[in-house]
């Protein structure tokens, strides 16, 4: 390994190769319970360095896991087979923002927050604000085909890629697309790399579609005694043609807990609804708001509030965003985890039942649950809230996870719609996609990465297992083979 470290240093410089144990430990975690310590972390500063690093890794068969902000929810940026973490966060220049062509050209390590801030300064926007916006990089967002808060209106990020530069394992620098807004030229490889979670190549540049930033915006929220009414209201908003940015629901347990902890005085309810929208002028915004308010009230929404300032906005979003703060207040030491049932998707007509039943499944095993839903697009985010020192809780989490995924499939849903498979869903992939699709995915992987060293151990591509050949952060963790029914 010493020889390889020296080779890497000669490519990127001494200061860009990190091997000390303390730093390697710091790179070993994400939201999942896994501990995966890399053998080295390598920072790269340009495409040429990426080509050379891949060359050395490939000729020595060393696993290489690209990393942006390391904010993955499902273990995708963990080096589960050891080897190299290729940290792209120092490759972080915004190369160009063109108002005339409505494109931005960026390096992969640019943070979403930094990028959006610069765009907004120029009256522009890249509206794919993932919940991890303070950490997530453009490379990570593209490689995860992320689904930002405003995915209801703007879709997944993949279709916003006009072009990209990708370095393949054999050193090829692949250029896809241009600053021309559309292309339809053979297989859509940008779409393939989007969501490939670093298993096919390294994204070293992106040409992204951007849009004008609307001058006025507002958030609107209300409380419902009944989740069916909430979902009916959300659907009526969609059918009205009002272009909301996002439509969201949070379950009653979470709303009530946060209201108590933060002293917000929210009414007791089975769920609350929050939506936000933009307008091209005040009149346009007010018109849309009045339509949304009427729909919410007509469907039984109580305390319908419109927020126009930062303070009120935060209050309305609190049930959706503050559960992690509230839970440590109510149950010190409790926290949430990235688990396999964190992002299923169900048909729109099943959302109310799914929110109720999934919460019930988790609670029936004796742990706490918060359930969120992007109501315009059917995605649910169940969160398990538990004590990581309690092995009963881990056992309960494992049982709940399996039950939720079986339930979701039974009502015509799918098991992963936002974060992707990563590592934590390895054991569910085959059942979820079927042998035929998995086999095709494996053949695609084989074309780009015949040695299987690009982010190995992910997306069920080279294993049907998780919890094997890996360390756990918590000693009370219950591995799959030890789960008690």
């Amino acid at each position: 390994m010493f020889k390889i470290v020296e080779q890497m240093k000669s490519i990127v410089g001494e200061e860009n190769v990190i091997t000390s144990k303390v730093d390697r430990m710091a790179y070993s975690r994400d939201l999942t319970p896994y501990l995966a310590v890399p053998e080295m972390i390598i920072f790269v500063e340009d495409t040429n360095q990426v080509v050379k690093i891949l060359g050395v890794a490939s000729s020595n068969d060393i696993p290489i896991t690209p990393r942006g902000g390391g904010a993955s929810f499902q273990g995708s940026s963990l080096p589960v087979r050891g080897g190299i973490i290729l940290d792209l966060s120092r490759m972080n220049k915004i190369l160009e923002i063109s108002k005339d062509d409505l494109v931005a050209i960026v390096q992969p390590g640019v943070r979403y927050e930094t990028f959006q801030h610069e765009l907004e300064r120029q009256g522009l926007s890249f509206p794919h604000d993932v919940g991890s916006h303070d950490a997530a990089t453009i490379g990570g967002i593209l490689a995860s085909d992320s689904n930002g808060h405003h995915a209801y209106r703007h879709g997944r990020v993949g279709s916003w890629i006009q072009g990209m530069e990708v370095v393949l394992l054999d050193g090829t620098v692949l250029e896809l697309g241009t600053r021309a807004p559309r292309y339809n030229m053979g297989y859509n490889l940008s779409a393939l790399f989007a969501g490939s979670q670093g298993t096919l190549g390294i994204i070293t540049k992106a040409i992204l579609r951007i849009v004008p930033k609307m001058p006025v915006s507002a958030t609107i929220g209300g409380f419902f005694q009944n989740l069916d009414d909430l979902m009916a209201a959300s659907h009526a908003i969609t059918m009205s043609g009002v272009e909301a940015g996002t439509l969201e629901a949070t379950d009653g347990y979470t709303v009530n807990t946060i209201s108590d902890v933060m002293n917000l005085g929210f009414p007791k309810c089975e769920g609350n609804f929050v939506g936000d929208l933009e307008g091209f002028n005040e009149e346009n915004l007010q018109h849309k708001l009045s339509i949304m308010k009427k729909i919410l009230e007509d469907h039984g929404g109580e305390n319908v509030i419109i927020a126009r300032d930062e303070k009120m906005n935060k209050i309305l979003w609190a049930p959706r965003l503050e559960i992690d703060v509230a839970i440590v207040d109510v149950h010190p030491g409790y926290r949430e985890f990235g688990f396999a049932a964190a992002d299923p998707c169900v048909p729109l007509t099943k959302m109310a039942d799914a929110m109720r039943n999934i919460g019930q499944i988790i609670r029936s095993h004796g742990i706490l649950a918060a359930v969120f839903c992007h109501t315009g697009i059917g995605i649910l985010h169940p969160a398990v809230l538990m004590d990581p020192n309690n092995s009963e809780h881990w056992n309960a989490m494992k049982l709940a996870e399996k039950e939720i995924l079986e339930y979701v499939i039974s009502i015509g849903g799918i098991i992963s719609a936002e974060h992707g498979f990563g590592y934590v869903k390895n054991n569910f992939v085959r059942k979820a996609v079927g042998d035929t699709k998995l086999n095709l995915d494996q053949r695609i992987k084989q074309i780009f990465d015949p040695k299987g060293i690009l982010n190995p151990g992910k997306m069920g591509l080279d294993t049907d297992e998780r919890d094997e050949d890996i360390e756990f952060v918590f000693s009370a963790y219950v591995a799959d083979k030890d789960v008690r029914e």
Binding site: S20, K21, V22, M25, A71, A135, R335, V473
Partner: protein, 130 residues
């Protein structure tokens, strides 16, 4: 308070990374060990016996205790308090950082952080008059 007393805070960190973009140290280096996320993993590793005190010392001193991380922390954690507790224990265990040791010694001996005598103060007064 020994760092063990902060174990529950350290465990409440979910490793989400929301503390990264505002951290003045992390912004300089992009090294995850410099962010609050990295520091909590490092301290957890210390509590588990996977790292020793001498291995963690340098990273613990790389913090301004500005609390920017708390402002964006998903779980609202007071990271600076944990870092300060770690530093206090580091000092007790003989891993105080060199500059702090010098400042403490100077203050004890000359009542001046730079180790200058009272004549330096007089010189300042002179300067102020001119």
């Amino acid at each position: 308070m020994p760092i063990e007393e902060y174990r529950h805070v350290i465990m409440e960190c979910v490793s989400c990374g929301l503390c990264q973009s505002n951290c003045p140290i992390y912004k300089q280096t992009n090294l995850e060990s410099n962010s609050a996320k990295g520091k909590m993993t490092i301290l957890y590793s210390l509590l588990q016996g996977w790292l020793d005190w001498d291995e963690v010392a340098e990273r613990m001193y790389e913090c301004t205790t500005c609390k920017n991380c708390t402002a964006t922390c998903l779980s609202g954690l007071d990271i600076a308090a944990v870092v300060e507790a770690a530093r206090a224990e580091l000092v007790e265990r003989g891993h105080g950082n060199a500059i702090s040791k010098d400042i403490a010694k100077n203050l004890r001996e000359t009542h001046n952080p730079f180790g200058e005598g009272s004549d330096a103060r007089e010189r300042l007064k002179e300067l102020a008059r001119t």
